[in-house]
Symmetry: C3
Subunit: 160 residues, 3 copies
């Protein structure tokens, strides 16, 4: 089963994604899009890896995630992937990569993403560009998934 887990920051998305992935047969893998840009992120990545323990083989890929898809996988997260696409100035590749991602989804995958558009929208063009790309990615993946859940205060609200 393919599931998209969305929600706000600290709403329990990653934790819930790992719970859902326990239903997948081993060996399972974890595709991480985060890069350790600073100490805060480095600590967070290490903490998340420790939480996953030996249940998941970790694969790190900031950009070409469509080439690293495997069955029985957690992909965490689209939010940082879109961030990386803009950071590395690869926006010209975005639609191609997104289409390849949707086309290549394995039967068993949990994809983590974020809601960023339910608050005040910053006035700077980069933030708005980011919101547009993430919105496109979320809608494309939600359409391709069997199940979509919105996390609210650590609890899953079923959208699809």
């Amino acid at each position: 089963m393919r599931t998209l887990v969305t929600g706000g920051i600290k709403s329990g998305k990653s934790t819930h994604a790992l719970v859902l992935a326990q239903a997948f047969p081993a060996p399972r893998s974890f595709l991480a899009t985060a890069e350790a840009f600073d100490e805060e992120l480095k600590a967070r990545i290490a903490r998340h890896q420790a939480e996953r323990g030996r249940d998941f083989r970790t694969i790190e890929e900031p950009l070409r995630i469509h080439e690293r898809l495997e069955d029985n996988m957690v992909l965490d997260c689209l939010t940082l992937w879109v961030n990386n696409v803009l950071y590395y100035e690869k926006e010209a590749e975005f639609e191609t990569w997104l289409a390849a991602l949707v086309a290549g989804l394995p039967p068993n995958i949990v994809i983590v993403t974020n809601e960023v558009g339910m608050g005040f929208v910053p006035g700077d063009p980069l933030s708005r560009r980011y919101g547009i790309l993430l919105g496109r990615a979320n809608a494309a993946l939600a359409a391709a998934c069997d199940r979509v859940v919105l996390m609210v205060a650590g609890l899953p609200l079923v959208v699809k």
Copy 2:
């Protein structure tokens, strides 16, 4: 049927509103509150008009939307209407116009609005004023509608 479609930016609100309005008998109309303040908005407005095609007659009105209501209509969107009310310094008229809007709702209408209050709240008084007015408008219209949906990643979550 009267429907309020809310959600974040790029969550598929306008697209879903047009799908719902296909259930209305022709001729249908589209009440647009957007004004082409800059090139980005101008391009967006033109793109949206092209998407609607000849199915909808477009009416443009930034402020006195309660005077332009018709049956079988899409009203897109409350967010920009409240923005215009503040921009043109018509806040003294807000409650009167909102009451007239609620009282004048036709039997068949889809109203598009936005969630803006689920993120960090900016410290400036104008943003907070905007959030308060939009919150009042959303609640008043939601109470007057038969159906309210929250768009999440392009999918409708039924609230009412």
Copy 3:
């Protein structure tokens, strides 16, 4: 019954909390975490007290809310409590106080909180710290409550 009411600003959270608390037997109490830092807040607090009328005895406590819990209570709100914890530099006490709050929940309580993480995340460390603490508080209370509702445009969407 224990209920957590979450949602965006001006989404009808406090009003809905008072409606739910009408099911509690009198005497009822209202635990307010707001402090009148400025005139806007002072007016808002006075307006809220007038709305509650004589149905609720008001208790004001910005920090040690776990010591003021009573049965048949509305706690409004976690958002300002976390704000106060940071403002008074009591972050070292946060986990202890949160655990005591969860452990001490009376049978009948309605707790009001806010979604702050579904928008763009500000870059400053204090805002991010705030988001993390509030996310922890929301998840801990949601897990301990019988019912969790997300307010959208004045309407409750049942999460649990």
